[in-house]
Amino acid sequence: MKTVLQVEGLAKHFGGIRAVEDVSFEVHEGEILGIIGPNGCGKSTLFNCILGQLTPTSGRVRLDGQDVTGLTPEEMNKRGVSRTFQLLQVFPELSVRENLILAGQEHRGTMLSRLFGPRDAGLTAEADRMIGFFRLGHLADARAGGLSYGQQKLLDAAMAFMAGPRLVLLDEPAGGVNLTMLGDLKERLKVMNAEAGSTFVVIEHNMDFVMSLCTRVVVMAEGKVLAVGTPDEVRANPAVIEAYLGH
């Protein structure tokens, strides 16, 4: 199995606080990897270090074997890695379609063609396909800010897929989403995984969501990796039960 992303001994310290300490794991092509752990265990910091929002204190990040440590978020994105954030990060004043076009436009053409070329950078069809896929069709021209929380969450996820990424990092996609919506989201992620062959890394609190979606799970606690394995293996791991599931 091909390794897409490789994290080696990653650490991030804020002053005296060790948010992430010596974290290593691999992401294989085509899998859905879950990262779970209690609040404040350093999951989001880990994401931010991988994606260049933060510079890691030590350790390496490799993409397809290439060292990408310390690249900026936009460089990571250009290399086919996209993400969502824990909190909603859509552009509320743009319409749903414009949000999606924005998410894809920098992957098309050049700076000049983006100025003098068509306004939608040729992405309207692609955006509408995404809108249809996430069943936001009736809302295509609505302001993103006016959507319900769950709908915005869907849009947020859709934006991560606009550029046709090979690796998508989702930070708590299920947070605050109601059950119906959650089922929807899960099924769509599975379809994308199966049909487009995208690889996912998902940070989540919602155990059921992770266990039913992911093929492999990394368990973190206090900034360190506690266990790695399939959902069943992790569920059976005594250290995990002690640290996390036990609560």
Partner: protein, 292 residues
């Protein structure tokens, strides 16, 4: 050497005034994210108010001084907070900053049209005497300004760090959310910083007007320098603003002496740009952790 000391003392005296203005500036910035572009006008107006009370209402000077300062603190401490800052703060920092620019115009033009376009002499509590030793002439007024300003700032520092109310004020400035949970009356504390700001401005006004003369346009330069002082010293520290004020005052004085009088203003500005690029938290400021 004697020459250098003379420049130094003159610079420290003006710097002390900039420090008074800069401290109020940083206080209101910390508690309510108000970038007050009218800060210079805040220093200009109290002296005008006092003179207006003397001339128009015929009050004796001491009474006018007390009333004028009280009136100023009421109008531009309390009034400024509730009529301009409170309704606008929810719209963000920029509209508020722009509103203070507009306020500066209103204060300046109001002082001119309502009182006088002319400079007015302002009585000094000290004689314009010169102390002379070792070939250095030192103005008594300059020394007085330095002493009074330093005492006032020291008192403020003591108040902020040593008293209960002061510490509550600091807490309210640093993390209003947590402060509120701890039962600190945040709104009252924020108001207190506005009152202190107005009080310091009034003090600066009374100190400097005997030398500068009271005039509607005096705020422009003081405002600009208070601004530079606050950034150079550090936006989030009282002692930073004090140091910033003194440094900027001295540098300005030395620039006039040793650089070029026509490019004098450029020196503090270049310093400002260098500080922003190299040490944006200011010489004495705390570094704020970058948030994602």
């Amino acid at each position: 050497m004697a020459e250098f000391i003379a420049y130094l003392i003159a610079g420290l005296a003006t710097g002390a005034i900039y420090a008074l203005a800069a401290i109020g500036f940083t206080l209101v910035w910390q508690t309510s994210q108000t970038i007050n572009f009218a800060q210079g006008e805040f220093v200009m107006l109290p002296a005008i108010l006092i003179l207006a009370l003397v001339k128009l209402a015929g009050a004796p000077f001491w009474l006018a001084a007390v009333l004028g300062v009280a009136l100023f603190i009421a109008l531009f401490g309390w009034g400024f907070k509730i009529t301009i800052v409170d309704p606008m703060i929810r719209h963000g920092v920029l509209p508020l900053a722009i509103a203070t620019m507009a306020l500066a115009i209103i204060m300046k033009e109001g002082a001119k049209d309502g009182f006088s376009a002319e400079a007015q002499s302002f009585p000094s509590l000290l004689p314009a005497q010169t102390l002379s030793f070792m070939g250095i002439s030192i103005s008594l007024q300059h020394i007085a300004i330095i002493v009074v300003a330093c005492v006032a700032i020291g008192g403020l520092q003591w108040f902020v760090t040593r008293t209960r109310t002061g510490r509550q004020m600091q807490a309210a400035a640093q993390n209003p959310g947590v402060a509120l949970i701890l039962g600190i009356p945040v709104a009252r504390m924020v108001m207190l910083t506005f009152l202190i700001n107005a009080g310091l401005a009034a003090l600066a006004s009374v100190l400097i007007s005997p030398i500068y003369l009271a005039k509607f346009s005096n705020g422009e330069v003081i405002g600009l320098f208070a601004f530079i002082a606050a950034i150079v010293g550090g936006f989030n520290q009282v002692r930073g603003a004090l140091a910033g004020g003194l440094i900027v005052g001295v540098i300005d004085s030395l620039a006039a002496a040793y650089v070029s009088t026509s490019y004098r203003l450029a020196v503090p500005l270049v310093l400002l740009v260098i500080i922003i690029l190299v040490k944006p938290e200011g010489l004495f400021g705390r570094k704020e952790e970058r948030r994602v």
